[in-house]
Structures are given as C-alpha cells and as structure tokens.
C-alpha cells in the first residue's frame, strides 16, 4: 500500500462505501469491506469521527475541521483517508 496522497483530494466530498461495515472498538474502530473482504483499522477516536461524518460534509477537509483536527494535524489525516480511499473503504460521492 502506498502512502502517496496525490490521489486524495481533501476538498472533494467523500463517503464510506455502502459495502463497508464499521465497528467501534476501544482503540478506534475496525472496518470490513464485504466486496474486497479486506479489514482496516482506525487507530483513534478522532479519525473515527472524521470517517463517520464524511457523508455529512461538503468536503473531507470540512469533516476534519468539524471533528477538531488542527491545521498541523491535517496532513496525517489526509494520509489516513488516502489509505482508506486506496483500499476502497471510502469513495468520492457525486454531488447533486
């Protein structure tokens, strides 16, 4: 898995793939994709809050801000979201 973030656009609207099941755990959350049969982990509560609220915000950046992610922390969150996008856990949603 690459950590290349060029493919991830913070300013686009995103959502969790409908085939993904998300289970909160004390350390964050477990995500399971029924299509690819892959498992991912979210390693803290804040990144879980971001992922959970992606669909409610006009952009991933807005979801991060709403969850209290600071400007300095943003690159780390972008990398995490990028990894999730690469494994199809989240996908861009089309704005109507």
């Amino acid at each position: 898995m690459s950590t290349d973030t060029t493919r991830f656009d913070l300013d686009r609207p995103w959502r969790v793939d409908p085939r993904v099941s998300m289970r909160p755990e004390p350390f964050g959350a477990l995500l399971y994709h029924f299509g690819t049969r892959r498992l991912s982990f979210l390693k803290n509560q804040r990144v879980l809050a971001v992922v959970r609220s992606l669909a409610d915000h006009p952009s991933a950046r807005a979801a991060c801000t709403a969850a209290g992610v600071t400007e300095a922390e943003l690159p780390a969150y972008a990398r995490a979201l990028s990894a999730l996008a690469e494994s199809d856990m989240i996908s861009e949603r089309t704005v109507v």
Binding site: M1, S2, T3, R19, S21, R23, E25, P26, F27, G28, L30, Y32, F34, G35, R37, R38, L39, S40, F41, L42, K43, N44, V47, E73, P75, A76, Y77, R79, A80, L81, A83, L84, S87, M89
Partner: protein
C-alpha cells in the same frame, strides 16, 4: 494514543493484519492481545457429519451429533453475531453443506449482515449452486484440497476427494465466481507441490490459502508422519515471503516468523482474543484447533448466549492477560513468534509456556524428545466414522431356552 502518520491501517484479507506500511505494527498487536469487544471473525462448525474421513481432521468429524443446534438455535446465534457486529463467520464442519438447512442459514446470515465464508470438500457445489454463490458479495467459498495430484490428496482425504474438489472448482469458475479460496493444509507430502497448487488456483481464478497442519483431532494420530520437516518449513517460509499478500495463510504460520522478517498478518495467537470456535452442539472453544475441555469456554445454550461467553468467560479472560513468555522469554526470537501455537503444543504434550513443537530454532524438537508421546492429551470429543465394520448378526442357535421365548418350557395348559 499519540497521533502517528498512520491513523488507518489496512489489514488485507481476514484474519490477517497490518501491512508493511503500518508505522506501528506492534502497537495494534498489543491492543489485539488484550482482546476485542467481539471477535473479528469466528469459526462455526455446523455439523460433525461428513462424507469424508480425512486422516488429519482437526475436529474428528464423521457422524452427526444428535445434540447439534437446531435451525432456530442457529438463527439465534446469527442474531447475536449481528448485534455484536461480527463481520463474518467461517462456517465449517464436518461438511457443512450436508446439513439440510445449510442454504437457509447462509441466506439468513447474509440478510442479517453477517458475511459467510464456508469450507467445503465440494460435494454439493453443483453448477446451480455455483451460479447462486457467484451472485452474492456476502458469501465466500473455500475448497479444501491437500494434494495437487489425486495420489497425494486422496491418501489423506480419501478416494475420489480430489475429483470432487476439482469438479467443484470447475463449476465455480464456470459460474464466474472469482477469488474463491483453494485451501491447503501443508504436509510433508505436499510441500514439494507448492508451485502446482498455485497453478491450480490460477487456472480456476481462485486465491491460494495455505494453513498449518495441527496435531488436533485425528491430526494427532498422523502428525508425526505428516508435519513438514525442518528443511521444508524453511522452504515454505521462503515461498510465503516471495508471494507476500497474494497467498493467504489465516495467520497460521506466525511461528515461522522467527526465521527473519514477519509474514503478513497479525503474528499472534488469536485464541479467545480475536477468534474462537462455536462447535455443532453450541460449545465455545478458544480456537478451532483446540477442541478439548481445557479450552472450553462455555455453551451458547446457556444464559447470555454467545455474547456472555465471549465477554465473561474466565478462560478467555486468562487468554487475554499479558503472557509472560515462560521458557521462551529468554529467546531472542520471542517477539517474532510469541511462542507459537497453543494447540500444537497442547496436543503434542508440550507445556503451553514453552516452545512450539515446530519451533524454527529447534527448541521444540528437543522438548518433544523428552515427552513420551503417550502423555499427549487425547481429544475429548470424537465423532469419527466407526471403522470397525458392523456385521448384521445371523441368528445363532439358542444357547438357552429363554433366548428364544420367555415362555419356553411352559407347557400350554
């Protein structure tokens, strides 16, 4: 938890785990070591009945148990798994597809958001069934085959079993099912066939899954003849390293990590921490390879059902406690292999806090040499087909009048 650049880690196919890109792979392993609110996946053996009698069957299957869970009880288990958000179950047996309600239960599970992967010898995978399976995202199939040739396979799994498995794979492939699993238990006889197994998987669009032979169930009787030699273990490790995440292992070879770099996966014993087994009569064991009263955590028929067993069983609590490493603590490779497989130690008569019988540093071999094979615990559950032929007794001449009739000897008045 401090913010690392790695807030999300991908884990590959279940039940494997963080890939090389994970910045802190050890950390997640430590968290998993303490257990989860629910298993990531669990193994559920639906029946002890099986059309085959594989010599290494880990559950000593063959005959149905009259106490097996009813359809209604199985559906209640699925309701519980849905509530606990268990992503999917590995259904096995015995041969699970011989249960008359098998497809009903698969449909019920997927309708309740519990994914299903089932293991089969292929006996019921007709073209019609294959087409149906190919249509679902929520069902995965695992075909068992333990030899890349009929000769090697049938010696272990029985006459005709190679042909059955190949036909099932042909049907799945023809139906357009891509990425089903071809599952192989690695033995001394089939390790030379690694490349041939890969070819078979590629031919049918399947993914190869290699797992470790455990001395569990009937496997205890044949383990000494079938388990890989030290040299073969090395060959297998190199092959797994070369093939990376293309080949699944169910995390079963973490004891080989002591050769050098860790194999993809969790590299820890998940028993009672991230996995467990529900057997056909509802007994919950710490792991599918540990069907023995020492690893019995409870039964889903008791108050609180499966959830109470998972959360409250004293056995599981003890498995989730940090382990000390025991005799292995002073070994420089302990962080890699974590002492190996609990079931492999137990059923070869080795202490649980010592080396694995197949320890790649050779400590298992010397430990085994000092344990008389008769001291290994026997499985407490056995549903093997009776191998003593039952002959219908012919009438023998009565040795006593009363054998014929209780009224013999009484003359009619």
């Amino acid at each position: 938890m401090t913010l690392t650049q790695d807030l999300a880690a991908s884990a590959g196919n279940l039940p494997t785990a963080p890939p090389a890109s994970s910045a802190a792979p050890g950390k997640l392993t430590d968290l998993f070591q303490l257990g989860l609110d629910a298993p990531i996946c669990l193994t559920w053996e639906l029946t002890y009945a099986c059309n085959l009698s594989c010599v290494h069957c880990l559950s000593s299957s063959g005959r149905r148990d009259p106490r097996e869970l009813t359809t209604q009880e199985c559906k209640q288990v699925i309701d519980t798994l849905e509530r606990m958000q268990v992503f999917y179950v590995n259904i096995g047996g015995g041969e699970p597809t011989v249960r008359p309600d098998f497809w009903e239960l698969v449909d019920y599970a997927t309708a309740h958001h519990v994914g299903v992967k089932f293991s089969t010898n292929g006996v019921k995978i007709t073209p019609e069934v294959a087409a149906r399976l190919a249509a679902s995202d929520y069902v995965d199939v695992q075909i068992s085959l333990d030899g890349a040739t009929a000769e090697v396979n049938d010696a272990v799994r029985g006459p005709g079993s190679y042909a059955t498995a190949m036909r099932a794979m042909e049907n799945l492939h023809a139906a357009g099912f891509r990425g089903f699993k071809l599952s192989v238990v690695m033995t001394r006889q089939n390790i030379p066939q690694l490349a041939a197994f890969k070819d078979i998987a590629d031919r049918y669009g399947a993914q190869l899954r290699l797992t470790r032979l455990r001395p569990s169930g009937r496997g205890a009787d044949v383990w000494r003849e079938l388990h890989p030699t030290a040299q073969q273990q090395r060959e297998l490790y190199d092959w797994l390293v070369a093939h990376g995440e293309q080949v699944l292992t169910g995390d079963s070879f973490f004891h080989l990590s002591a050769y050098g770099s860790a194999l993809p996966g969790l590299n820890l014993c998940g028993a009672g921490r991230v996995v467990c087994l529900i057997d056909p009569v509802g007994d919950v064991y710490a792991c599918p390879f540990a069907i023995h009263e020492n690893f019995l955590a409870g039964n889903i028929r008791n108050d609180g059902g499966f959830q109470a067993v998972w959360r409250d069983s004293p056995l599981f609590a003890s498995l989730r406690a940090p382990d000390t490493g025991g005799a292995c603590r002073s070994c420089g490779f302990y962080d890699s292999c974590r002492g190996g497989c609990m079931a492999a130690k137990f059923f070869t008569g080795l202490p649980l806090d010592g080396p694995d019988p197949e320890c790649v540093q050779g400590y298992g071999e010397s430990a085994l040499a000092s344990v008389p094979s008769s001291s290994a615990p026997k499985p407490s559950v056995d549903h093997s087909h009776r191998t003593v032929p039952v002959t219908i007794s012919r009438r023998r001449p009565p040795s006593h009048d009363c054998d014929e009739s209780p009224l013999a000897g009484f003359a009619a008045q």
